[in-house]
């Protein structure tokens, strides 16, 4: 029997054993649910917003700002609280009350108001500094004294919608007073303070077929953020789902002493490659399900235009490469384990090539052609996730970069698989001693 046939036979056995196992089927269903849970929560929050009225106290040291702020808040409530067509409430109502400032003991007053927030009588309170109408000029926000600031106190976290909401009426109120001081008639306030809509548009292109100039179109958040994000999360999820079980599986089989008999019939390279091929098969099977499922959802939502079909070949290439690298590594690390605990510890090492790109994905998406994004996406361990992210962003990347990245990925994949097979050969029959990183390195180099 030749080498290829033995490899295929091992791959077939591992593939069938995996697809028939309950963990695989469970993971197949749960992974997209968990992966999309963030979007699900956002969707649910939007569908069922918290409409409880929010009461905010204003301590106005200027003596003039509070009425203007309350008026601006009333106007904003009127604009945003209800759907104009259906009359359905969309947002909570913000109720503002004024509290006379206690200049003798402001700290005691803040404590008292804080207690009211804690007892949920108030949602928050704001304190408008004495000079907030005309704060001194400063380039450094940190140096602005409290008397020139507007301080917002609440029990909520740093990301607080109410703080964001109240900023509008507070600034509008203050600007109204300033305009009035300048003699501007109040009927011009809306005109002066009205803001222009800045729309994000795609670049203009020329049609390859007709040569005609194609006008730019409005880009939405989904196109700019969700498509690359979902694509990359899908890749990361499938890669992790393939490589994680590989490490534990090899370690378990080693502890069950399965390999010695197999090694009499197949070489370590044939065994490890068979396992890797099975993992690639599993990941491609999952991908087909997820991609077809995703396209069907987009079709049903009449959003097929968002489907990044041109990136699918790259998705498959990066998937195969990443699964080969991580599964080869997982098999080698699994072979080096002597106990289930070892497998848990070494799993962290395995997840780095996936976790690090996920840590930097936001800066990469903010500046997809910046130095950080370009350099990191050309580092072979991170290329699959980061280059795909950049390719999926509107505007894409210079045409040569994916190909350069691909060369690096291929070289990296071959090198890791080769080293993994050498480690596997020695480690798989080593019992009772957990291999150190020094051992792994030595085995990879010397064989």
């Amino acid at each position: 029997m030749n080498r290829m046939n033995r490899m295929v036979l091992v791959a077939k056995r591992d593939y069938l054993a995996a697809v028939r196992s309950k963990p695989f089927l469970f993971g197949l269903i749960m992974a997209p649910i968990l992966g999309s849970s963030g979007f699900l929560v956002i969707g649910l929050t939007k569908a069922k917003p918290d409409l409880q009225p929010r009461r905010i106290a204003i301590v106005d040291h200027t003596g003039r700002a509070a009425p203007a702020i309350i008026e601006a808040a009333r106007a904003k409530n009127g604009k945003e609280m209800f759907d104009r067509k259906t009359g359905r409430q969309l947002a909570p109502g913000y109720e503002l009350e004024t509290v006379a400032p206690d200049d003798r003991d402001p700290s005691a007053q803040r404590l008292k108001l804080s207690d009211r927030v804690r007892s949920r009588e108030l949602f928050a309170f704001i304190e408008i500094g004495r000079d907030a109408l005309h704060p001194p000029k400063s380039d450094d926000d940190e140096k602005i004294p409290q008397s020139s600031r507007v301080d917002y106190y609440s029990n909520a976290a740093a990301i607080d919608q109410t703080r964001s909401w109240i900023s509008g009426p507070v600034n509008d109120g203050l600007r109204h007073i300033r305009l009035a001081e300048l003699g501007v008639d109040s009927s011009h306030f809306a005109d002066v303070l009205g803001s222009a809509t800045v729309e994000t548009m795609s670049l203009i292109t020329r049609s390859e077929k007709t040569g005609a100039i194609m006008q730019g179109h409005k880009k939405n958040e989904i196109e700019g953020f969700a498509v690359p994000f979902v694509l990359v999360m899908l890749l990361a999820m499938i890669v992790l789902a393939s490589s994680g079980p590989m490490l534990g599986g090899v370690a378990e089989d080693k502890m069950q002493r399965v390999y010695e008999m197999l090694l009499a019939s197949a070489t370590p390279f044939e065994l490890i490659m068979g396992k890797v091929v099975a993992a690639v098969g599993l990941s491609l099977s999952s991908s087909v399900l997820y991609v077809v499922g995703g396209l069907m959802v987009l079709q049903a939502m009449a959003m097929m235009g968002l489907a990044p079909l041109s990136l699918l070949p790259w998705f498959v290439i990066y998937l195969v490469a990443d699964v080969m690298v991580l599964c080869g590594l997982a098999a080698a690390l699994g072979a080096a384990c002597s106990s289930p605990n070892d497998a848990q510890h070494l799993a962290m090492l395995l997840f780095f090539p996936v976790l690090i790109p996920l840590f930097v994905i936001l800066p990469v998406m903010q500046a997809p052609n910046g130095v950080l994004a370009t350099v990191m996406s050309l580092l072979p361990p991170f290329t699959p996730l980061l280059m795909l992210t950049r390719q999926a962003m509107p505007g894409g990347v210079p045409w040569w970069q994916p190909w350069v990245g691909l060369v690096g990925v291929v070289v990296w994949t071959v090198a890791i698989t080769w080293a993994a097979a050498r480690i596997f050969r020695i480690a798989i029959l080593t019992q009772g001693k957990t291999a150190s990183f020094g051992d792994l390195f030595r085995w990879a180099i010397r064989g």
Binding site: M1, N2, N5, R6, L9, V10, R13, A17, S21, D253, Q256, R257, V258, Y259, E260, M261, L262, L263, A264, S265, A266, T267, L429, Q431
Partner: protein
């Protein structure tokens, strides 16, 4: 052509020479027994023949060919450390092992051996549901399907009940009759004596005995007395060592000792019910070489 030719093979792990300059020839169709204390190098030698380990020095030829990095479908191997995919069904597992080694479908052979070893009723059971003895028999089948020209069995009888031992022993002899060469390691000297045509003893990685049982025993001559008597063995003239086996005692005579004098001395002291002069058993030879009083062991202890 011999089944195996090993020339000057050495294998070290760190500073330890697991196998040290070993040379051995195994003729085709023979049953060759490997004996030796734990850690003496038997398993390492077997792993090198199967090509799981590569020798640091020397050459190993199987049926005239060096395996190098490849695998031979003609070698069946039963490792000492038993392990099978626990969640696979018995028949599927055996077909997988057979196809992996032989490169062809082995459905009929698997069923033949399942029937032969009384395991047909377990064919669709998962391996994890089998008893330890049944698992060992399944693993034996995995080693002999498809029928190998060379069968290497590392302690094949360990943990088996007497009935299963007989079944496996009969199967080994049948394979030998059909032309297979068999190498087996064992700690049971009676198995080595009764089953093996040739015996190799390895101690501390080096070959210390090699040949037929007769030729090995010849080296030691008839220096052993088997006697049944009610005590009186202390300070017998010309007796170097007394080994009490319960119903029988084994006396080792010093060089030049006359067994008649030993008998006379014993009769003078006690009642003797049986007395025979014989060659040393393999067990005795093993202990002489590797036991606590062996010169090499004493030397190692002083080091």
């Amino acid at each position: 052509m011999d089944a195996i030719e090993i020339q000057g093979v050495t294998k070290t792990f760190g500073d330890l020479a697991a196998v040290d300059d070993l040379s051995l020839t195994v003729p085709q169709g023979a049953v060759y027994g490997f004996i030796g204390p734990n850690g003496s190098g038997k398993t390492t030698t077997m792993r090198m023949i199967v090509n799981i380990f590569y020798p640091d020095r020397g050459t190993i030829r199987v049926f005239g060919q060096e395996l190098r990095a490849g695998r031979s479908g003609e070698i069946g191997y039963l490792p000492e450390e038993r392990g099978l995919y626990r969640r696979m069904e018995v028949r599927s597992l055996l077909q997988f092992h057979g196809e992996l080694r032989g490169g062809r479908k082995v459905t009929e052979e698997v069923d033949h051996w399942l029937l032969r070893l009384d395991l047909l009723q377990c064919a669709t059971q998962r391996v994890e549901t089998l008893s330890k003895g049944m698992s060992q028999k399944v693993q034996f089948i995995a080693a002999v399907v498809p029928e190998p020209k060379l069968l290497i069995l590392d302690e094949p009888f360990t943990g088996l009940d007497p009935v299963s031992v007989d079944v496996i022993r009969t199967a080994i002899l049948e394979l030998r009759r059909r032309g297979a060469t068999v190498i087996l390691s064992t700690h049971d000297m009676s198995v080595a004596e009764s089953l093996c045509d040739y015996i190799l003893m390895i101690h501390r990685g080096r070959k210390v005995l090699d040949g037929t049982l007769d030729s090995i025993q010849q080296q030691y001559g008839s220096d052993t007395i088997r006697v049944s008597a009610a005590g009186g063995f202390d300070d017998l003239p010309g007796v170097e060592k007394v080994r009490d086996l319960g119903q029988v005692q084994e006396l080792r005579m010093a060089q030049g000792c006359d067994p008649q004098e030993v008998l006379r001395a014993l009769v003078a002291r006690t009642r003797v019910t049986s007395f025979s002069v014989t060659k040393p058993s393999l067990h005795d030879i093993f202990v002489r070489i590797a036991g606590p009083e062996a010169p090499e062991t004493m030397e190692a202890r002083h080091e």
